[in-house]
């Protein structure tokens, strides 16, 4: 039995978890549920010794265990199956399995001897594993089996699975659940981190919910249903998520049967329909990873669609429609941190006729324009020559927003535009979006922040597994109906 008692952990100014307690019993599958950023991963990292809590303690069968020492935790029998595999792709399966059990660098290496216990376990679980196959060439599901075997073969009695289903197909998920149940019947404590409700209800015995780093509830699975779990996960819903009706706006953006592939070739958006009028703010909620980024990128013209129709005023959407795009991650997609503020603004400025002459940029007007944006959008910097990377998060986002909003775009696509911003900066960005809409911009606002959607959007949809659902309670919000 593994007990977490009053655990708190902050990263800088961000409180990842505060005062979380939970008990994980032997012979049960205990799911830990929460939205992105709820603190699940931090809690698990502490249990497995990868992170050291600021306060609180962890005990195993009543005895406090050392904190922040992964090797000690492993010796004590706490195994963690990472979401991101810890395998060497160039090694064979056998070599990866042996790697976890190396008994000293000076001793002669016998891969077959070291890999034997893990292969034996594979046989017991009914898995066909070829120890001579190069690990990197295996499909993801098979790699995960190797990852599991690698971590299990020592006599682990507590096994933590960090979002193991994220990369698996439905068949593979069923097989994984079979293994989880088997581990349970062997008397092990199985901890499953998840954010999909259906999976939790299918396999867990008990469930603990975290929200914004706080402990919300622990309950036997028989006492809860999808609605209940969803409500615990997202908290009280804002009262009104719908302000107006679609008919009051002249329609402009028209999506029918949109399909989009993600970076790994998976179907990220599957048959999505949406209409957005001029002046309308269409809110799209849902948990990250359900196709948000892919949808935004198709609208912004930086990703190809694999099927369906994206029209603007009855014609295919293309560069002639002035589209503004506020990407999700300002530091990786929004700004070149090593370039000056002026250069980052010139990303937009280079497309303006009054700031360019043929193939040339006009330095003088470009600088004046940059200074103008700095003062109009209240970007706090010494000068436009400062590096974008030297600004605070809020001011960085203002650089992106000012660039996008300066000439009113016809279509605005914003993904989590206020993530990580303080109240004042958030309010500023929100006002910009509202102003654009009232000036006639069609806005697609993709956000995981329900308050943001409630405050801004005329209508809110939820994106779940690549499809839209109309707002229908908490469970659509967390992808429960997938």
């Amino acid at each position: 039995m593994l007990c977490a008692d009053g655990l708190s952990k902050s990263y800088g100014a961000v409180r990842a978890i505060s005062d979380v307690s939970a008990t994980f019993a032997d012979g049960e599958i205990h799911a830990v549920l929460g939205e992105n950023g709820a603190g699940k991963s931090t809690l698990m990292a502490i249990l497995a010794g990868f992170a050291r809590p600021d306060s609180g303690q962890v005990s195993l069968n009543g005895i406090a265990i050392p904190l922040g020492q992964p090797f000690a935790c492993r010796r004590l029998g706490i195994a963690m199956i990472h979401q991101h595999f810890t395998l060497v792709p160039q090694f064979t399966v056998g070599e990866n399995l042996a790697l976890a059990r190396l008994d000293g660098l000076a001793k002669p290496l016998s891969v077959s001897r070291l890999a034997q216990p893990a292969l034996e376990m594979a046989r017991q679980l009914g898995w066909q594993i070829d120890p001579t196959a190069p690990t990197g060439s295996l499909p993801v599901g098979a790699q995960q089996r190797v990852e599991i075997l690698k971590n299990l073969a020592d006599n682990a009695h507590t096994v933590i699975f960090d979002e193991p289903t994220a990369v698996l197909s439905p068949d593979e998920i069923q097989d994984l659940f079979r293994v989880l149940r088997r581990l349970k019947h062997e008397g092990k404590a199985v901890i499953l981190i998840a954010h999909k409700l259906a999976e939790v209800l299918a396999v867990a015995d008990r469930v603990t919910i975290l929200r914004h780093g706080k402990f919300i509830a622990t309950a036997p699975i028989g006492d809860v249903n999808e609605e209940k779990l969803a409500q615990w996960m997202v908290g009280d819903l804002p009262s009104a998520l719908t302000h107006g009706s679609a008919d009051q706006y002249p329609s402009a953006l028209y999506l029918r049967g949109l399909s989009v592939l993600g970076d790994r070739g998976e179907a990220a958006i599957r048959g999505l329909d949406l209409e957005v009028g001029r002046g309308e703010i269409a809110g799209i909620g849902g948990v990250d990873g359900n196709g948000q980024v892919e949808l935004a990128e198709v609208l912004a013209g930086v990703r190809r669609l694999s099927g369906g129709v994206v029209n603007w005023d009855g014609k295919p959407l293309d560069e002639t429609v002035h589209t503004g795009y506020i990407p999700q991650d300002r530091q990786s997609d929004g700004l070149a941190l090593g370039m000056s503020i002026e250069d980052n603004l010139a990303i937009e400025g280079r497309t303006r006729t009054e700031l360019t002459r043929g193939a040339f940029l006009r330095s003088g007007p470009l600088r004046e324009w940059s200074k103008g944006l700095l003062s109009r959008f209240d970007i706090r910097a010494q000068s436009v020559s400062d590096l974008a990377g030297s600004l605070s998060g809020g001011n960085q986002q203002k650089v992106v927003v000012s660039r996008v909003m300066d000439l009113r775009p016809e279509l605005l696509v914003a993904v989590n535009p206020t993530r990580g911003l303080d109240l004042q900066a958030s309010a500023f960005v929100h006002q910009q979006i509202l102003d654009a809409a009232s000036a006639g911009t069609a806005v697609v606002l993709i956000s995981t922040d329900l308050d943001e959607l409630a405050g801004l959007a005329d209508r809110t949809y939820f994106l779940s597994a690549g499809r839209l659902t109309e707002a229908a309670g908490a469970s659509s919000m967390v992808g429960g109906q997938a």
């Binding site: 795009y325 997609d333 090593g338 940029l361």
Partner: protein, 334 residues
């Protein structure tokens, strides 16, 4: 600059050379006389042109270390373009030769660079690897051509026909090698500066090198930009080869390349990939090259010295970079 000087002195100390005398000799050789100054400047020309090539590619995030191969490809193209002129009864004026050689060398170098760029964009081949391999290919091609199709008309030596002095770039002084190519090098510095900092294309090039994801989010085709940057980079290194051919060497042989393409990398790094700073940086390296020749007359280790100093300068630079980027990462983490 102080750091470089310190590295220079440290190197002399490690080699157990008399510091004062050595510095005097280096200075004398590089700047002590008109001949010395000319010796230095003529070496700075290929360093500046190849250095510009390095800057253009590296700014786009393409770590082109194939300047040497592109330099040779430029020289080959120049010699091939000029070859028909030797059949003329009256040798043409130097500027005719140079227009032909210069244009051909840019084309040859650009093709060599674009090949690596194309391999990267279409096939994902690392530029560092492909450009190194293309260096070897260019050098072997040179050896083959100089004793084959491009060999001098008497077919005796593994060299191309030699340009007569009237066909080569005019010199300032018949006793030294310095030629009017130095003006071309300076003009090219200005041109590259304008392209990088005053044009849309140059802006996109820098943006792609700085953060390709931002470029993508703003509908800039970074593959295309990178391919063009490699062509431009190769063209500049090729031009260096053409200028060296028409200005100093006059003919091609296996010793045509003097490692200018490799040396240009530390030169460009020392200039922090800035075309304007490239000029003092190239002169610094050229001075050590020129000066160490004088030193070699007095000290047995004289010519080795240049390599030691280059390496020390690059390592010192890498250390400084690593230190500053560590600080940046630490600030971000807190």
């Amino acid at each position: 600059m102080v750091g470089l000087f310190a590295i220079l002195i440290l190197t002399l100390l490690v080699l157990r050379l008399p510091v004062g005398d050595s510095l005097t000799l280096l200075y004398q050789g590089a700047f002590g006389s008109e001949a010395g100054v000319h010796r230095t400047l003529v070496r700075a020309i290929p360093l500046v042109l190849c250095g510009l090539g390095v800057i253009v590619a590296w700014r786009a995030g393409m770590y082109n270390i194939g300047g040497e191969g592109q330099f040779v490809a430029g020289g080959i193209a120049a010699a091939a373009a000029v070859k028909p002129l030797f059949a003329m009864a009256q040798p043409p004026a130097w500027w005719v030769v140079f227009l032909l050689a210069g244009a051909a060398s840019i084309g040859g170098g650009a093709a060599w660079g674009a090949l690596a760029g194309w391999l990267y964009v279409k096939r994902g081949v690392e530029v560092v690897i492909s450009t190194i391999l293309l260096n070897f290919i260019a050098l072997q091609l040179l050896v083959y051509l100089a004793s084959g199709p491009l060999q001098e008309s008497k077919h005796q030596l593994p060299l191309t026909d030699r340009l007569s002095s009237g066909m080569m770039l005019p010199k300032f002084n018949s006793q030294t090698d310095l030629h009017v190519g130095i003006f071309l090098a300076l003009l090219t510095v200005v041109a590259v500066y304008i392209v990088l900092y005053k044009t849309k294309a140059g802006f996109c090039l820098r943006l792609v090198g700085e953060n390709a994801r931002v470029a993508r989010a703003n509908r800039i085709n970074s593959g295309q930009v990178r391919l063009l940057s490699m062509a431009l980079s190769g063209g500049l290194c090729g031009l260096a080869g053409g200028v060296e051919y028409a200005g100093v060497a006059g003919q091609l042989g296996s010793s045509f390349s003097q490692q200018w393409g490799f040396l240009a990398i530390p030169v460009a790094l020392l200039a922090a990939l800035n075309p304007i700073w490239l000029i003092p940086s190239a002169i610094y390296f050229a001075a050590i090259l020129a000066g160490s020749k004088t030193m070699a007359g007095f000290v047995s280790d004289g010519t080795v010295l240049i390599y030691v100093i280059q390496a020390a300068a690059v390592l010192g630079l890498v250390a400084i970079r690593a230190y500053t980027s560590r600080r940046v990462i630490q600030t971000e983490a807190t």
